[in-house]
């Protein structure tokens, strides 16, 4: 098995062969992994404290929630859409779960079923927002961009309004377990990644989603149930965001209505850096893993170098832009 699979060998016979080598490199699904390793090597020399077990743990801790939510984004991007609502789903589910379990007069404070109910509530809220997004896209034929952008603003406003902009703390340990214990977070992230990639590559639903992203008309004319599959993609993305919220809320020991509100570009960016196409039809969870790794490494190392927040934002923005350029180039190549 090739790991990770190539983003599609798309060399047409009509192109100049002088750059064949460069071509192969840029088309490769290994590119981001290779860049991550190279980057880590350079930074372990340049950045003090980068190559330490402690810092390695920090990187992994930062990666896990991003990995989970970016996995959901991968599904939606493959279907040819985009889900911009994920950050506000994280915020909304974060306060929803916290409101159920908090010892500060939570609905089920102290009750033994509080934690399972809270987790379930988070998943349901995430799925519901995803269902709304998917429904608008699939049945009302609205552009994914505007639907999820609107949902993002609405859900984000709702979260702040519900909490009067206050964070919710004093959460029970059982609720924070998944976020606080590295092994538990790791298991959750791995389970989500394996589950989603299995769905994508080994089930009818997965090939339906890919076909829709490739060419929705062909999918429809080939008997693919386009609308349900599209809705499902957004629902999964919402659920992944809810799971990420569970990890984040546990890590930070607080449910916050502005949780992760500035991380939207990281999520879409990591997915695209990995090689999943913004044009739909092409993507892999393992690519997303490599994108998350590279983006987290950049964030972490530049922090260690004591660069300002704004400089780091510029650097990350630049990398994501490059990834989007590469995606556009691959897409043009494919269309020739």
């Amino acid at each position: 098995m090739r790991w990770p699979p190539e983003p599609g060998v798309r060399r047409s016979s009509k192109q100049a062969s002088e750059f064949a080598m460069l071509d192969r490199v840029l088309q490769s699904g290994w590119l981001t992994i290779a860049l991550s390793i190279a980057y880590a090597c350079i930074m372990s020399v340049l950045a003090p404290g980068f190559a330490s077990i402690e810092n390695g743990t920090n990187v992994v801790v930062a990666m896990l929630p991003l990995m989970v939510v970016a996995t959901g984004q991968t599904i939606v991007l493959i279907s040819g859409g985009i889900d911009l609502s994920v950050t506000s789903v994280i915020a909304l589910t974060s306060i929803a779960g916290a409101a159920v379990v908090t010892n500060d007069a939570g609905w089920l404070a102290g009750n033994s079923v509080a934690t399972p109910v809270a987790v379930l509530a988070m998943l349901i809220v995430g799925a519901a927002v995803g269902f709304f997004n998917g429904g608008c896209v699939a049945w009302l034929r609205m552009p994914p961009f505007i639907v999820t952008l609107t949902t993002m603003i609405f859900a984000s406003g709702l979260a702040v309004w519900l909490t009067q902009s206050k964070s919710i703390s004093h959460l029970p340990t059982s609720f924070m377990l998944l976020g606080k214990q590295l092994w538990a977070s790791g298991l959750v992230a791995i389970a989500v990644a394996v589950g989603v990639q299995t769905m994508l590559s080994r089930t009818r639903l997965g090939s339906s989603i890919r076909a829709i992203g490739n060419n929705p008309l062909t999918a429809l004319a080939s008997g693919v149930r386009v609308a349900p599959a599209t809705v499902f993609a957004y629902v999964l993305s919402g659920i992944c965001a809810a799971v990420a919220a569970l990890l984040i809320t546990g890590q930070l020991e607080t449910g916050s209505p502005v949780q992760w509100e500035n991380n939207l570009l990281d999520i879409v960016g990591a997915t695209v850096i990995g090689g999943t196409s913004l044009y739909g039809g092409r993507g892999h969870v393992l690519w997303t893993l490599s994108g998350v790794l590279l983006l987290t490494l950049i964030d972490n190392s530049l922090n260690l170098l004591n660069l300002s927040h704004f400089t780091i934002m510029m650097a990350k923005g630049g990398v994501i832009l490059l990834a989007a350029l590469l995606d556009a180039w691959r897409h043009r190549r494919g269309n020739r």
Binding site: G8, R10, R204, S207, R210, A211, A221, V224, G281, N335
Partner: protein, 511 residues
């Protein structure tokens, strides 16, 4: 007029070590129409792209009107007076006719704004030249395919070219539009312009061209005055064998089992009161001009377009209320008119495209996990059955395949689902003669196995060659039905043209 307009000597071109053009020689006079024929993959497009400045030859020389001609870009070619009308038109539907014509260099006022008055006046003159009586302000999206073709030519005429290359200009035109186009081409030619005309429609080439050049496998296998070649002879030169083998022998025996029963299907403005029966093991053809409602009928039968009234019964079960997916699950299949639009996922691999339809049969409950091993072996078997070239790898995007191989992938995708009723809309469009033959043989084999086939085609000869029965459509209605012993090309043409005159006179009255 007897001056040499274009002369090509010793043109060679190879891609990745594969010779696509081998020492091609071409010579044409001003005021002459040269027909260029050959199978797909014979090198016609490559040759034209070299003339049009899209590609550069590896070796050889070109002279245009006696001067050395070395175009590096399409713009160079335009400046030298070479216009290239591509098969797929390059017009912007959301812009007006005039804007399309002047897109690359708008006339400007003194203040550097676009001079709309000047542009519309000049566009008007060009439109008159091509015989199109339309306002240059009209958006291109409102034009028919034939009108768009003429706009494309008007656009080329703006630069007063000496040589015009036309690549399959009539594929999407009605016969009236084709006649109009030919009139225009003849008048351009008599004004001294040279025309290079590429087409699979040998009848058109015969009608229009003074001289013909036949390419096979990148080499010229014949050039001479048109009158020296019979169409049969051209075909055999193109494929390297006799054209009597154009259609395979037939073995099917239609039964009296009604596989598909269509009763009074009506959709206002599209089709009216369509009724017919398709029997088991039968190959039923639908002939008709473009716009006669044949493709629309197929889409309605397949559940892709709505219908107002009528009944469709497949193998005894009413299906008119089912969505496309439900009809597919019950054994219907449809190869759509355009592979690119809704036939294939162009960027996806051969394997992915082939398995798209039949996958539900290989899904294991409760999670829908696919039985990959079984699916893969079925894919392999089907790939051999449709004779997809062995050299193509599974993971290659179908984008990179030839038209014939792409069509085989579409067929394979449907056959994997073992359909009972197979609707084929223009199954051989844009496919070379060899692949056509294989598809005909496949159709015959499927019918012999008892599958029912409804085939829509613009090529009457094709229908005559492979069908048991032919329905003729015009204006959304079935106008005639011919059993095999009544097959008659002129009767089909007559039925297809029925009411066409009425419509045309109505349209003229409107204007």
């Amino acid at each position: 007029m007897n001056s040499t307009l274009l002369e090509m000597t010793g043109i060679r071109k190879s891609f990745y070590g594969v010779d696509v053009l081998k020492d091609v020689e071409l010579r044409m006079q001003a005021g002459q129409t040269l027909g260029l024929v050959g199978e797909n993959g014979a090198g016609k497009s490559t040759l034209m792209n070299i003339i049009g400045g899209n590609l550069r030859a590896d070796a050889g020389q070109m002279q245009l009107a006696g001067e050395l001609y070395v175009p590096h870009t399409p713009r160079d070619a335009q400046r030298a007076g070479v216009a290239f009308i591509h098969q797929e038109l390059n017009l912007f539907a959301n812009l007006s006719i005039a804007e399309n014509i002047f897109l690359t260099s708008f006339p400007r006022t003194k203040l550097r704004n676009i001079d709309y008055n000047d542009m519309h006046q000049r566009a008007d003159a060009l439109l008159e030249q091509v015989g199109l009586r339309l306002s240059p302000r009209l958006l291109v999206e409102n034009l028919s395919a034939g009108e768009r073709q003429l706009v494309e030519i008007a656009k080329a005429l703006r630069l007063a070219p000496r040589l015009m290359i036309l690549d399959e200009p009539t594929t999407s035109l009605t016969s009236r539009e084709t006649a109009k186009l030919f009139e225009l081409l003849v008048s351009l030619q008599s004004n001294g312009m040279g025309l290079l005309y590429i087409s699979h429609a040998l009848g058109d080439v015969k009608r229009l061209c003074d001289e013909v050049l036949v390419l096979r496998d990148g080499a010229v296998v014949g050039q001479g005055p048109m009158c020296d070649f019979e169409p049969n002879q051209l075909v055999s030169m193109m494929v390297g064998r006799e054209s009597s083998d154009q259609f395979p022998p037939r073995h099917n025996h239609p039964s009296k089992v009604k596989q598909l029963d269509v009763q009074h299907v009506t959709q206002p403005g599209v089709v009216r009161d369509i009724s017919f029966v398709l029997n088991g093991g039968e190959v039923l053809g639908i002939s008709g001009l473009m716009g006669s409602g044949r493709t629309e009928l197929a889409r309605i039968l397949f559940g892709l377009d709505p219908m107002k009234s009528g009944h469709i019964t497949m193998c005894g079960e009413p299906i008119e209320r089912l969505p496309t997916a439900g009809r597919i699950a019950r054994g219907m299949a449809m190869l759509t008119e355009s592979r690119r639009e809704d036939g294939l996922c162009m960027q996806a691999s051969i394997a992915e495209n082939m398995s798209l339809v039949a996958e539900p049969k290989y899904a294991r409950p409760p999670w829908g996990l696919l039985r990959k091993a079984a699916l893969t072996s079925a894919l392999h078997a089907m790939r051999n059955a449709v004779k997809l070239s062995a050299s193509t790898e599974w993971h290659r995007p179908v984008q990179t395949l030839s038209g014939g191989n792409q069509q085989k992938v579409v067929l394979a995708k449907w056959l994997l689902n073992q359909p009972k009723v197979l609707i084929l809309d223009e199954p051989t469009r844009g496919i070379d003669v060899g692949a056509k033959f294989e598809i005909y043989a496949l159709i015959d084999r499927l019918a012999s196995d008892g599958q029912s086939i409804l085939i829509i085609s613009s090529e009457i000869e094709e229908l005559l060659g492979i069908c048991d029965r032919i329905l003729v459509m015009s204006q959304g209605e079935i106008k005639d039905e011919l059993a095999r012993n009544e097959f008659d090309q002129s009767r089909i043409m007559l039925a297809a043209l029925q009411a066409d005159h009425v419509a045309a006179s109505l349209r003229d009255a409107d204007q």
